[in-house]
């Protein structure tokens, strides 16, 4: 996404001034003062007043604002759950500081989806300050979720096709991730996006999957053994060791990842339960390392091995036909597809014991 010119970010359309959200006038939400001089006019101005949505958005959209208090886009609870799970309470303050410097900018306010681009990607009005009920996908959703999800879904990686839901269905993000699901997370999923029932779930649309009406026998055979992505995803991005610190030269928060590469590995499902009964799922390497936060303190992740570094994944590059679903033995007996111990680095073996496939399903006769 090309960056906007400074004037483009703040150019207001005249029709906004007479729209429902515009009639109150600029100062009503942004503060500042009515003055001809720019510096005076901007005195006390709040660029993103929706950061505190209650007194503004909540005046009319009370229910949504209330719901949003629990939304992962607001709380970022998933980050804390995973950081803290690998750490100890005495380290939380240092981790919180690192989070504040490097991760908190991913927080999204009402305005950062419906009025402007998120601040973390440079901001700028989406459509002359008009409020967009449905945020434009590439300027909001994939502006943040771009390096993996966006690139994979839209087919931006050479020789790896985009997701069939985009290529043929022309579906955008909210076709599956409804507004209501983005505005709130229920108790089950309040701390992690993969907690609780699958949402969205492929079977919400593909509702004959595994039933007597399903014309595809492989679906019936593998019904609860495999997540959909095991058969219908293709290569996706994995990342290695992200390290965060403060730049000595500029004082800015910076990160360095050790690398990124394409993988397709089937691993054991560490989230197996009634909501996700699959024995096998696809896994990706996530960019965490024992020393990811070393610049904020020594040994801040002493329980690093409690969670796998090859994590449950739901790549957004679904295809009807994939190399692994071509024939039975494209997958059965094909050790290359499975996350076996030899593919895991020695220092991460302990962390990934529950994910590693010890015995690859045998080839069919």
């Amino acid at each position: 996404m090309a960056p906007l010119e400074p004037w483009e970010k703040v150019l207001v359309k005249e029709e906004f001034l007479t729209s429902t959200h515009g009639v109150a006038g600029c100062v009503a939400c942004h503060g500042g003062v009515q003055a001809e001089d720019k510096e005076t006019a901007h005195t006390g101005m709040v660029a993103n007043p929706a950061k505190d949505p209650q007194p503004l958005c909540g005046t009319c959209h009370q229910e949504t604002v209330d719901d949003y208090q629990t939304a992962l886009h607001n709380t970022q609870a998933g980050y804390f759950k995973m950081m803290y799970s690998r750490s100890l309470p005495e380290n939380h303050a240092a981790l919180d500081e690192a989070f504040g410097n490097h991760c908190a900018s991913c927080h999204t306010s009402c305005g950062e989806c419906h009025i402007s681009q998120p601040a973390s990607v440079g901001g700028g009005l989406l459509n002359g300050h008009l409020v967009e009920k449905t945020p434009p996908m590439t300027r909001t959703c994939t502006a943040c979720h771009g390096s993996r999800v966006g690139a994979e879904y839209l087919g931006k990686h050479e020789e790896i096709p985009g997701d069939v839901h985009f290529r043929q269905g022309r579906m955008n993000c909210i076709s599956c991730h409804s507004g209501s699901s983005l505005h709130t997370n229920d108790t089950a999923s309040a701390n992690h996006r993969y907690d609780g029932p699958e949402s969205p779930a492929c079977v919400s649309c593909h509702d004959t999957y595994g039933t007597l009406k399903d014309p595809i026998s492989q679906h019936v055979i593998h019904e609860d053994k495999l997540s959909c992505q095991v058969c219908h995803s293709v290569q996706y991005t994995s990342c290695d060791g992200c390290h965060v610190s403060i730049s000595e030269s500029s004082g800015n928060p910076i990160f360095k990842t050790e690398g990124d590469y394409f993988t397709f590995f089937i691993g054991k499902n560490v989230r197996q339960g009634s909501d996700r009964p699959y024995e096998y799922v696809v896994v990706r390497h996530i960019p965490v390392a024992p020393d990811s936060y070393t610049s904020y303190g020594d040994n801040l992740l002493p329980n690093f091995d409690l969670l796998p570094t090859w994590a449950y994944a739901t790549p957004h590059n679904i295809q009807r036909s994939t190399p692994q679903n071509a024939t039975c033995n494209s997958c059965h007996g094909n050790a290359e597809l499975f996350l076996t111990a030899d593919k895991v680095s020695a220092e991460e073996l302990e962390a990934n014991q529950a994910v590693i496939v010890d015995e690859v399903p045998a080839a069919r006769p």
């Binding site: 004037w7 600029c26 942004h30 720019k38 993996r148 500029s250 690398g259 960019p287």
Partner: protein
């Protein structure tokens, strides 16, 4: 036989006597107080009316591309990001 003459006389006497009865005090017909809920006006975020501007200076500038370009802060050349790898 109905004594019509006596009845008529009695009625006339009653009419005359009723005019002589003591004046009754007026019934207090003050309206009973009806409890009403006085609702505070809902406060909606509005600007502090420090002044009534005849010109909307915000709009004057922010609707004008050329004015925004003229008044924009000089762009500081973006130094190459110090971060490395996919974020």
């Amino acid at each position: 036989m109905i004594p019509w003459k006596k009845l008529a006389g009695l009625a006339a006497l009653l009419v005359v006597l009723s005019a002589c009865t003591a004046r009754t005090p007026p019934v207090n017909v003050e309206p009973t107080a009806v409890p009403t809920t006085i609702t505070e006006p809902v406060l909606t975020p509005t600007s502090t009316p420090t002044q009534v501007a005849s010109t909307d200076y915000c709009a004057t500038c922010h609707l004008d591309k050329d004015e925004l370009i003229r008044t924009a802060k000089p762009v500081v050349e973006d130094t190459e990001s110090e971060s490395e790898g996919k974020g």
